[in-house]
């Protein structure tokens, strides 16, 4: 890790510890926009990371961006930081100017066929984007669509459509945005190769969720380690019980494995979206979530199951994020396809890429 990354990590940690409190996370679940958190991150230049300076970015690398996201995941930051990164990277790829306002991206495949017709003074849009993260708070939304002749990327304000509020397991805004044959004057429509965009979104989205989950799993372990030292039963602290030690060790294993898998997913992303490694990382981390979250709750007993405690802020996010940008089943199929294609020399050469 270089000095700039280290500095970014330190200042992000400080911001999140100061601003991203338990109360702030709870408030955001009630539908209140975490304006202070967003503004502080924006003022510190955390929003346009991973974008070259000539396109309005701050010039830092993908690695920096993913390091920030890992911390955002660790502290349950209730803002569309990942979505803004993904959106800006997509725009930067297309040579478009990036934004330092909240952006969101409709998941590939969730657009339900958004259809656009060119008019003299704009576009008539029909269709629906489902489960769009933070749509009600985003200034811009990116979604895929189709015109009569080609696939397009649409950059639009979500307010141009009808927004139906929704939320995921963690209470994070996941809204439907519906366009009912409406003439929209202000929107940018860019012809694209849909497959390329879908792939880029899928890989960058998966790695974003991967690092966020790795951060959150690190947090789970910290919460558990603290709890078992502070809580006493039968006259001794919980960590003195072998049954508890074993749960804690298994949890540490999942957390450490997730951390390594996340590091290598970032490396694979930087080396040109190597889908094999990203697939394996997402499968491993999704699996880690399924194992670690129930253990963390078991360790915390009934107290961790209450709204009062902060444990659920992390576990509910983990349960939500693992299903976004591909489940284990979906990535397992992708990995199987890769193996069918590249596994003619056997499994070992495939795994070691040599």
């Amino acid at each position: 890790m270089n000095d700039i990354t280290q500095m970014l990590m330190q200042s992000t940690t400080k911001i999140l510890k100061d601003v991203c409190t338990k109360e702030l996370v709870n408030e955001s679940e009630q539908g209140i926009w975490a304006a202070k958190l967003w503004c502080t991150l924006a003022d510190s230049g955390m929003i346009t990371v991973g974008v070259p300076e000539e396109l309005g970015g701050n010039g830092c690398s993908y690695l920096d961006a993913f390091s920030i996201l890992r911390l955002a995941g660790k502290y349950s930051a209730p803002v569309p930081l990942a979505e803004t990164f993904l959106g800006n990277w997509l725009l930067a790829d297309l040579g478009e100017q990036v934004f330092d306002e909240p952006i969101t991206v409709a998941y590939p495949g969730s657009e339900n066929g958004v259809y656009l017709q060119k008019q003299e003074d704009g576009w008539v849009i029909s269709g629906k984007a489902n489960f769009v993260p933070w749509a009600r708070f985003a200034k811009r939304m990116i979604m895929l669509g189709r015109t009569d002749s080609e696939d397009v990327l649409v950059l639009i304000s979500p307010e141009q459509g009808r927004i139906e509020h929704g939320k995921n397991l963690a209470g994070e805004a996941r809204d439907n945005v519906i366009f009912e044959d409406r003439l929209v004057k202000e929107c940018r429509v860019i012809p694209v190769d849909a497959k390329t965009v879908v792939n880029k979104l899928l890989y960058s989205g998966a790695v974003a969720r991967i690092v966020m989950m790795a951060g959150a799993l690190e947090r789970l372990l910290e919460l558990c380690a603290t709890y078992v030292t502070e809580r006493t039963q039968f006259g001794k602290p919980l960590h003195r019980f072998q049954a508890v030690q074993h749960q804690l060790a298994l949890l540490a294993g999942e957390s450490a494995a997730a951390s390594t898998a996340a590091d290598y997913a970032v490396q694979a992303f930087q080396n040109g979206f190597l889908s094999q490694e990203i697939a394996m990382s997402k499968i491993k981390i999704n699996e880690a979530v399924g194992a670690a979250s129930p253990m963390a709750h078991q360790i915390h007993g009934a107290i961790g199951f209450t709204y009062e405690h902060t444990l659920h802020q992390t576990t509910r996010r983990l349960w939500s994020w693992r299903d976004e940008f591909g489940t284990e089943t979906e990535w397992s199929e992708k990995l199987a396809e890769e193996y069918m294609e590249n596994g003619r020399d056997g499994l070992w050469p495939f795994l070691t890429r040599s």
Binding site: H239, A256, E328, A336, L347
Partner: protein, 384 residues
């Protein structure tokens, strides 16, 4: 909390070259039929001839100084060589302990004479070692060892016994942990020493303990007034426990902790790919993901060991998760390809399956049981 963070290691072109060389060599030997692949080959694949061939080509003692017969290669280069050997199921058990543990131990604590005498022979693949730790009344509770050496003129006289000693019937020497002062129940870890025992010396008796397959890999070793000359003491008298513990990160984090059943996994994927059944391959994908993650963790630890850091906590984690993984391979494979597991089968798949199932109970016992490892991890995590 101790850190669980591991470095990201990128394998260079130089490393790729090392991999191609060892892979080509193994391929040729398999073609010639000089070696038979098997699961758990680092415990049960014995071939003194193959070890000698590896030594001749510079693949034993790779990281050691040249003046002791080593080759001054990096830990990552060594890593690549041993993982290729294990993945192929090559017979490496003869020199495994000497290369992995005895060499590094002697380099760290050995006398000049010991290094000059033993290391070149080990690196040539001609001198094999066993480790004498467990005793009939000291299993997971290793500090209970009671084998006892008493000072006499010019050396020590050893009495007692060791058990579960892998490969003692093939090995030339054994690094033996024993008491050199009477046990103090308050400070059980003190007063222990490591002695280099010549297994051909008078008073040493080796008796086989057969595995449940009937195979002979384990032994009981008895010492009846065995004389150990002073120059065969490793490190300091009384410092045996600490010296022994320092080896554990090497012992616990290596690829042999998750590749013991890899030959079966390789056969499984080959069979499924031939069938062209993507749906079944997808069912193995989670296993590949676990294996990939474990391997990256293990490489990260090898890199840290090279920098002189001993990440014992993460090493214990890799062993715990890795050995569980080794056991799962057979459980997954048997549900995807119907087979009739048998040690004597002429079908590679059936044979690997039998070896994987019948050897699997040992994976989570040897080198620190799962229960012991989890205790170590938990203590590390809460920082106590």
């Amino acid at each position: 909390m101790k850190s669980l963070q591991l470095p990201v290691v990128e394998l260079s072109e130089e490393i790729r070259k090392v991999r191609r060389e060892i892979r080509e060599f193994i391929f040729q030997e398999l073609e010639k039929g000089t070696i038979q692949p098997r699961c758990d080959s680092w415990l049960s694949g014995y071939s003194a001839e193959f070890s000698r061939m590896l030594g001749e080509r510079g693949w034993i003692g790779m990281t050691w100084p040249k003046r002791y017969g080593g080759h001054e290669r990096s830990s990552i280069e060594r890593y690549v060589v041993i993982e290729e050997l294990l993945a192929a199921g090559a017979p490496v058990s003869a020199h495994w302990i000497a290369d992995r543990q005895t060499g590094p131990l002697l380099l760290k604590f050995g006398t000049e004479h010991q290094k000059e005498f033993f290391l070149p022979q080990i690196a040539k693949g001609e001198c094999f070692f066993a480790i004498g730790l467990s005793e009939p009344n000291a299993g997971s509770d290793l500090a209970a060892v009671s084998s006892r050496a008493v000072k006499v003129e010019g050396g020590w006289v050893l009495n007692g016994s060791k058990t579960w000693t892998s490969g003692a019937h093939h090995a030339h020497y054994m690094i033996t942990l024993c008491r050199t002062s009477p046990m103090n129940p308050e400070k059980r870890h003190e007063g222990m020493s490591q002695l280099l025992v010549d297994l051909a010396a008078p008073g040493v008796t080796i008796r086989p303990i057969e595995l449940m397959t009937g195979e002979h890999h384990f032994n009981e070793v008895f010492f009846d007034n065995v004389f150990i000359p002073d120059e065969m003491v490793v490190g300091q008298i009384g410092n045996g426990w600490k010296q022994g513990m320092a080896e554990l990160a090497y012992e616990r984090s290596g690829p042999e902790r998750f590749l013991s059943t890899f030959p079966l996994l390789e056969e499984l994927l080959r069979a499924l790919r031939e069938k062209g059944d993507k749906r079944l391959i997808a069912q193995v994908s989670p296993m590949l993901s676990r294996l990939w993650t474990l391997r990256q963790m293990s490489i990260g630890i090898a890199n840290m060991l090279e920098q002189g850091v001993t990440p014992d906590l993460v090493a214990a984690l890799v062993k715990d998760m890795g050995t569980k993984f080794e056991q799962q391979v057979a459980e997954v494979a048997r549900l995807l390809v119907a087979c009739s597991p048998s040690i004597t089968s002429s079908s590679q798949f059936d044979k690997f399956m039998a070896e994987s199932i019948l050897h699997s109970p040992g994976f989570t016992l040897r080198g620190g049981t799962t229960e012991i490892l989890r205790g170590i991890v938990a203590k590390g995590v809460i920082g106590q």
